[in-house]
């Protein structure tokens, strides 16, 4: 009697489970901007292709083997007083057969695996758009990402802009511990080491903003070491580069090149509108409150950057390494209560800033486009 209940019991909970799962996932889930299953770049597409093949094969194997198991469980259920079943000890033929079958299945997986290993390992020499790949240096920091474009002479952080259809050649290094660069819709992970350069590449096939993350445990705030990949049309990428080159003519504290400390006071005095004076006050606070000892506001490359580069911070999508929307409110919260918002980040100096000061700083930062 108990045995007869087994089949129903095997399925009932699973049926219930499936319904529940569907309800929950449909109810609370999606869209999935960080999905590996929706590749938007060539590297990720190659990976997806070999993964999909593997999943198909695995599904077939799964159905056959679990099916055989379940069938045996139902078919051979016995009663305590049944006669002793036929005592079989094994069969060499059967053993050979079921050694060869998985070997063949694995060979079918192995061939595209090795092919894809080699095709993803090589950085293409030309992009689909005919240009040479765009070199980007990625630097991992606890806990943010710095991106440098050595050919363009600009630096930014937590937002990687790339043009569509141009292969990106990433050369990556860490400033401290091991991190891992992962932007799932475009490429697999690549660890980022402090003592050697690792390489990764991809070509974006669609424009838009796509989240990425650090995928190697790197300390307290590993969970919030995200970034955004901004795939631009060729024109908007040109505009982005132009804006960055423009602000790289600023000094790294936001003053015009060659400015003296007196320049800030001059600019403040010269401001005519209220908004202008607010911005000017923010600009002088940015230096006076020691923001510049860690942050550079210019996209000019600064070797000693401790905190993220803030070039174009006014129009960035996110703050705090890719996870807080860049609203005035979040920005204020960040400046005033950094250690509550993101415990353990290096920005932990007790900075006595008044609400008004922060308002001025925000106004100033918003001018950074």
């Amino acid at each position: 009697m108990r045995q007869l209940r087994v089949p129903r019991r095997w399925f009932q909970p699973f049926g219930l489970l499936c319904v529940l799962a569907v309800v929950l996932i449909v109810g609370c889930g999606g869209p999935y901007p960080q999905s590996t299953l929706d590749p938007r770049g060539d590297f990720a597409q190659m990976v997806d292709a070999v993964f999909t093949k593997t999943v198909y094969l695995a599904t077939i194997v799964f159905i056959l083997v679990e099916g055989a198991l379940l069938w045996a469980v139902f078919k051979f259920r016995g009663k305590p007083d049944d006669a002793e079943p036929h005592q079989i000890h094994g069969s060499t033929v059967v053993e050979i057969v079921w050694t060869i079958i998985p070997a063949v299945v694995l060979a079918i997986v192995a061939v595209p695996t090795v092919q894809t290993i080699f095709s993803t390992a090589r950085v293409p020499t030309t992009s689909p758009d005919g240009q040479p790949p765009l070199k980007v240096e990625v630097v991992g920091h606890q806990w943010f990402w710095e991106f440098r474009y050595p050919e363009l002479g600009i630096t930014t952080a937590n937002e990687l802009h790339v043009p569509i259809n141009r292969t990106v050649d990433l050369r990556m290094k860490s400033n401290d511990v091991i991190h891992s660069f992962w932007v799932p819709q475009f490429a697999g992970k690549r660890d980022v080491f402090p003592n050697r350069e690792t390489r990764l590449w991809f070509t974006a096939k669609v424009t838009g903003a796509f989240p990425g993350a650090c995928a190697e445990f790197c300390g307290t705030e590993h969970g919030r070491m995200d970034f955004y990949l901004m795939v631009d049309s060729p024109d908007s990428f040109k505009a982005f580069v132009a804006r960055r080159l423009d602000d790289s003519t600023m000094n790294w504290n936001g003053m015009p090149m060659g400015a003296t400390p007196a320049t800030a006071a001059t600019m403040l005095a010269a401001s005519t509108t209220a908004q202008d004076s607010l911005v000017a006050r923010g600009r002088s606070l940015f230096t006076a409150r020691a923001c510049t000892s860690c942050h550079s506001i210019s996209s000019m490359h600064v070797l000693s950057a401790i905190g993220p580069n803030l070039s174009g911070i006014g129009t960035r999508k996110m703050i705090g390494a890719g996870w807080l929307p860049n609203t005035d409110e979040n920005l204020r919260n960040w400046i005033e209560h950094t250690q509550q918002v993101k415990p353990d980040v290096l920005m932990k100096l007790p900075i006595p800033v008044s609400d008004d000061d922060v308002t001025a700083l925000i106004a100033y930062l918003r001018t950074m486009r």
């Binding site: 053993e95 997986v109 511990v177 992962w182």
Partner: protein, 623 residues
């Protein structure tokens, strides 16, 4: 006559307190029970950590715990479940059942065995003590350099981890020598290697892995200790130390460790399936060779944990293909298990439920393992929740299901009581459902972009639903284990004695009373073929042998109880504490003295131990 002479002598020993008896025990069965009891408590601790992790991840942007505490939780969850739960619960079965299965009266070195036990318990308490100082290890169970260096982990947290693992490694190595010797040398007359029960084979192969893999992590931890305590730079960048060396050393140990966790499970299931199918294990020799082959290959695939480090296409291809190769012997084992139940007469008792659950879940873990072996695909899956799903399917769906099966199967032999069947089946269904609700969605949360070891995730990633599902599953799992605990308590209170052979067993442990007497076998058995007890029953023409009598055991030599294993373990612990406190407060106080004292205690104990006579005669009184 002899009886009366011996009685007073025994009476004095009987007056020793129960506590002293357990602290000085060298009886492999008591050592086994102590292993099991302490490991189960550590398992509950690790489970509690997992539940807090799941509650934190229940919804996006949650703030139940701080990021720092979260990191401590997942580091300790991994460390606990591997080193303080699955390994020692397996060790419980090694201890209690290897001698019984091979027809021996004890292990080869009973006092060494007791030392392994105490070193393990003290090591486990040492690591967990860190929670009380709010300084639990927080650098991951894999302790990657340079994050684990003093520079990036200045606290005492990772000192607890590295010294604790060092202590536990000593316990494992000592047990490895002991069981390797026991199995090779203490088998009953006629029990050739190819007549050994499959569980014994699995223990033998596991011990080979322990003996060859643990020295490597020992060296890695020594180098880390030198870095953290004495200021060398093995994994530090400032003097061109290479963090990759840590990764290689760690995974040369770490991958065999995976098989150290799963092979005993294979063995347990290979014992249970034949008994409840009433049919011998299908393809015995194929099972032995596939296990040996898995162990051998297990040493050649470590770098598949490091595909994302960019080792280059040749290395990637090699480790990719080597890893796939492991799927072949593993597949052979699964097919043989199905072959075993095929044509059998399945008796649906709780152990069989769990054993079948093991096969069903392990198949899934194996298949996702092959997906990881595809190196390019692994670049997407590694360090995401997909790999979390994968290894829980092999370590929970695999090891824990099989260990639970073993617990229900061998409980009557260990304690002389039957666990309740109804509660057992309820436990099974809660565990099967809870397990799948927890971990199956993780395949998807991983593929949909959720990295591992993150303490929270933004709502915008769309992962809230899957994570909520996993959390619900984790609570169902917890309910399952509460049922198990209730079952244990209920069984404890019941008076009903389990028979010697409740399941129609095939192996020697079922030929002696439940629980076994101190000397196991009144008459040392002789074995003529595999499944020795079935052969005896067949020879006698019965399905169940008559209940064996409990005998006096007079004149049997047994190892004497000893304090020295415990005091050696204490010495080792004190030695490590000395190193621990030296790290953060060096030179403030001659903390080297603590280590010196620990060393002296251990050395003195070992010296006394080696001159202590090893055995005594039992009296007539049965315990």
């Amino acid at each position: 006559m002899a009886t009366t002479v011996l009685e007073p002598a025994h009476a004095t020993t009987a007056r020793r307190s129960v506590l002293v008896e357990w602290l000085t025990t060298v009886d492999h069965k008591r050592v086994g029970i102590l292993y099991g009891a302490s490991a189960f408590l550590f398992f509950l601790m690790g489970g509690l950590e997992a539940e807090i992790i799941r509650l934190q991840l229940m919804k996006p942007d949650n703030h139940l715990v701080t990021p720092e505490f979260y990191n401590q939780l997942f580091t300790m969850h991994g460390t606990t479940m591997i080193f303080l739960a699955v390994m020692p619960i397996s060790a419980m079965f090694f201890n209690f059942f290897v001698p019984l299965l091979i027809g021996a009266r004890d292990v080869a070195f009973p006092r060494l065995n007791a030392m392994s036990l105490w070193v393990f318990i003290l090591g486990g308490l040492f690591i967990n003590f860190s929670f009380l100082l709010n300084a639990a290890p927080n650098g991951g169970w894999f302790g990657y350099a340079p994050l684990s260096s003093r520079q990036y982990s200045p606290g005492i947290n990772m000192d607890f981890w590295m010294l604790g693992l060092q202590i536990l490694g000593i316990a494992s190595l000592a047990a490895g020598v002991n069981f390797f010797t026991t199995i090779l040398n203490m088998r009953a007359k006629g029990m050739t290697l190819m007549r050994m029960p499959m569980f014994v084979w699995s223990v033998l192969v596991t011990q080979v892995l322990v003996l060859l893999a643990f020295p490597v992590i020992t060296v890695a931890l020594i180098l880390l200790m030198a870095d953290r305590i004495f200021g060398t730079s093995f994994f530090q960048l400032k003097a061109a130390g290479d963090p990759m060396l840590w990764q290689h050393l760690f995974w040369v140990f770490g991958h065999p460790e995976v098989y150290i966790l799963i092979l005993p499970a294979f063995g347990i299931v290979s014992e249970i399936l034949p008994v409840f199918s009433r049919k011998p294990l299908f393809g015995y020799s194929a099972m032995v060779f596939s296990m040996a082959f898995i162990a051998f290959l297990g040493f050649g695939v470590w770098s598949h944990h490091m595909f994302a480090t960019g080792m280059g296409p040749l290395a990637d291809s090699f480790f990719s293909l080597a890893t796939m190769l492991i799927a072949i012997p593993t597949g052979v084992k699964i097919f043989n298990w199905i072959g075993t139940i095929w044509g059998g007469s399945l008796q649906f008792k709780t152990p069989l439920y769990f054993a079948l659950g093991f096969i069903a879940m392990f198949i899934m873990g194996g298949l996702s393992g092959v997906m990881h072996a595809v190196a390019p695909a692994d670049l997407q899956q590694t360090d995401s929740y997909f790999v979390v799903a994968h290894f829980h399917y092999v370590l929970f769906g695999g090891s824990i299901f099989a260990l639970t099966a073993g617990a229900y199967y061998w409980w009557p032999k260990m304690f002389g009581r039957m666990l309740d069947e109804g509660l057992g089946k309820l436990h099974f269904w809660l565990m099967l459902i809870g397990f799948n609700v927890t971990f199956f969605p993780m395949h998807f949360s991983g593929l949909l972009g959720m990295p591992r070891r993150i303490y929270t995730y933004p709502a915008g990633l769309g992962l809230g639903g899957l994570n909520l599902l996993s959390t619900i599953g984790a609570l169902i799992l917890a309910a399952g284990f509460l049922v198990f605990i209730y079952n244990i308590i209920r069984t404890w209170r019941s008076e009903e004695q389990a028979p010697a052979d409740p399941w129609g067993g095939a192996t020697l442990e079922w030929s002696i009373p439940s629980p076994p007497q101190e000397w196991n076998f009144a008459v040392e058995p002789e074995v003529h073929e595999k499944d020795a007890l079935w052969a005896m029953k067949r020879a006698a023409g019965v399905r169940t042998l008559p209940e064996p009598p409990r005998v006096s055991g007079q004149g049997i030599h047994l190892p004497s109880p000893s304090w020295w294993p415990l005091s050696t373990a204490i010495g080792l612990l004190v030695f490590m504490i000395g190193i621990l406190v030296r790290g953060p407060v060096s030179h403030a106080f001659p903390f080297g003295l603590i280590s010196a004292a620990g060393f002296a205690i251990a050395a003195f104990s070992i010296f006394k131990w080696s001159y202590e006579p090893p055995d005594h005669h039992t009296s007539h009184i049965a315990h």
